[in-house]
């Protein structure tokens, strides 16, 4: 089942001189874990904004083409109409709290309150998500007292609890320290295991290699590469666009270049270990 569909989408921001998206064609099916990579300004966030309907409903500007989310025409639905179709987690940990709740528990339940869910149902769902994401120790703290990493975990919980069809996560760790990043990626790992449809924008290419099944590479508003993670992340085209590969891919390609053939170019630590094994001489 196709969850996200963009047909020949082009877009320019009201105060932008150049187009942020150029002739985008994209289809994402239910259950896929798609990573979007590219340099700053390549259009990754604009793509996410378009899928969720922020473009054009919030950002206005000029848009051509068609966008469908779970079969709904995004251009004809409001941002609120699509609340349960796609959840969105933003980069900035500090701008996603409602600012009206005294406890993290209620903060997580805020979205469910907004859609008018029954009170006991809300409480049960929030309990479940807190236990699943292992943030019990944060449950009764004030949302304002949390660190960046803690806030992002709460933001993820707040969106996941609404059980949207698609989860759009836009560079969630760019403003976090290493510990915060680790905590967030633990949750993303769980999302993958739950079989959720995820669109993840990230710069940390090594982490993407661990999770993504499919990778979309963008540059200057266009989709340059779109395919299985292994193919995209080891493609020489990335180098042409000055985009770094995962470090294990760099290792693998360098080994091959220097005359150490490998079955395939590794992109994760596990694959790298397997690939290098034949070349490790153990003392007999």
């Amino acid at each position: 089942m196709v969850c996200v569909e963009l047909k020949d989408v082009s877009y320019r921001y009201p105060t932008g001189e150049k187009k942020a998206l150029k002739h985008i064609n994209l289809q994402i099916s239910k259950g896929e874990f798609v990573a979007v990579i590219g340099k700053n300004g390549s259009g990754k966030t604009s793509l996410c904004n378009a899928i969720r309907g922020f473009i054009p409903h919030f950002y206005k500007g000029e848009l051509t083409g068609e966008i469908y989310l779970n079969g709904k025409n995004v251009l004809e639905s409001s941002i609120s109409d699509l609340t349960l179709d796609a959840g969105y987690v933003f980069q900035n940990p500090f701008s996603q709290t409602s600012g009206t709740k005294e406890t993290v528990f209620e903060e997580i339940g805020y979205g469910l309150e907004c859609i008018g869910m029954d009170r006991m149902q809300i409480i049960e769902k929030v309990c479940n998500i807190i236990q699943t994401l292992q943030i019990e120790h944060l449950a009764y703290k004030s949302p304002i007292s949390l660190s960046g990493g803690q806030r992002q975990r709460v933001s993820l919980a707040s969106i996941i609890v609404m059980e949207p069809e698609v989860l759009i996560i836009d560079e969630p760790t760019s403003q976090l320290d290493p510990k915060g990043t680790e905590d967030v990626f633990e949750i993303i790992h769980k999302l993958k295991n739950m079989g959720k449809t995820v669109i993840l924008v990230e710069h940390k290419i090594d982490l993407i290699a661990e999770f993504a099944e499919r990778v979309v590479f963008m540059d200057k508003g266009k989709i340059i590469l779109d395919g299985p993670a292994r193919e995209v992340l080891t493609s020489p085209i990335l180098e042409e666009y000055n985009c770094t590969m995962p470090q294990y891919a760099i290792l693998g390609r360098e080994m091959m270049r220097r005359g150490y053939p490998l079955q395939s170019v590794p992109i994760t630590l596990q694959e790298a270990k397997e690939a290098v094994k034949p070349y490790i001489r153990t003392e007999e």
């Binding site: 941002i79 609340t83 409602s98 209620e106 309150e113 008018g116 809300i122 409480i123 019990e136």
Partner: protein, 266 residues
């Protein structure tokens, strides 16, 4: 972690104190009744009676210290100073003077007028302060929602109450960083005035930047989703309190008619 039932109970829990647990509408009704009654009261002691009653109720709730602290300045200004000023400057015929200061005389009638005005101020500020000390903003907003307050309005109130201390804290940080960049804060008026702008501008601009993302984030969580909203936190009104409020209204009405007659017509 507790079970869902236990958590549900936690978010509906009463504090066990009759004053703190009063449904906010009852407290607001009290404020309104005292306002109206004090205007129609023929004697200025009404305000002081209200003040004492509110003091007792607040003490019962364990908030007497805060209440008295807030009332102190009101007593000084609107009972003390106001009475003295009115006593001196009140003009009229057949006044009974008792004190002379320079060319000004204090009259008993002036004192009575001053105390009368002070009484009205006391009658409204005491219940208001009692309400703010013994009820949380959230509970007051929930009670207003039951009476028909829109979700947007309740968001505005709650968010504002959380935002003010947050921004104050941020401004303290900016103040320190500006001082360390040698922006002068001591010296003559012009120097200090010039320091104001670079202290407030970063705060305003960063607030604007936050607003953009915040508004998109809120909307994407269903802020404008068309349905009636529910809430995890609940407060309950009791039939006894409902009857109490009606009774309060009726008694206030009777007091106003009788008191007003004596005040303005007898």
């Amino acid at each position: 972690m507790e079970s869902a039932q236990e958590i549900a109970a936690r978010f509906a829990a009463k504090k066990g104190n009759p004053v703190l647990d009063l449904y906010p509408a009852s407290k607001l009704m009290f404020v309104l009744c005292m306002l109206v009654a004090s205007i129609c009261s023929p004697h200025w002691c009404f305000g002081f009676i209200v003040f004492i009653v509110c003091g007792i109720l607040t003490a019962f709730a364990g908030e007497l210290k805060g209440f008295l602290k807030g009332m102190r300045i009101i007593l000084i200004l609107f009972v003390g100073l106001l009475t003295v000023v009115r006593a001196f400057f009140y003009t009229g015929d057949n006044l009974h003077y008792f004190l002379q200061l320079g060319s000004f005389h204090m009259s008993w009638e002036g004192v009575a007028v001053g105390l009368g005005m002070g009484s009205i101020v006391l009658s409204v500020t005491s219940p208001l302060l009692m309400t703010t000390k013994t009820a949380t903003v959230e509970d007051i907003v929930i009670a207003l929602e039951h009476m028909g307050l829109s979700p947007t309005a309740s968001f505005l109130v709650l968010s504002t109450f959380q935002m003010v201390p947050e921004l104050n804290a941020r401004s303290a940080v900016i103040q320190d960083s500006q001082k360390s960049r040698s922006i002068e804060v001591e010296g003559n008026l012009l120097v200090r005035a010039k320091a104001f702008f670079p202290m407030i501008t970063p705060l305003v601009l960063s607030s604007f930047a936050s607003t953009e993302e915040k508004s998109v984030a809120l909307e994407s969580r269903g802020f404008n989703y068309k349905c009636s909203k529910t809430r995890i936190r609940v407060i309950t009104d009791t039939p006894a309190q409902k009857r109490g409020r009606i009774l309060m209204g009726i008694l206030t009405g009777i007091f106003c008619v009788v008191g007003g007659y004596f005040k303005w017509f007898a």
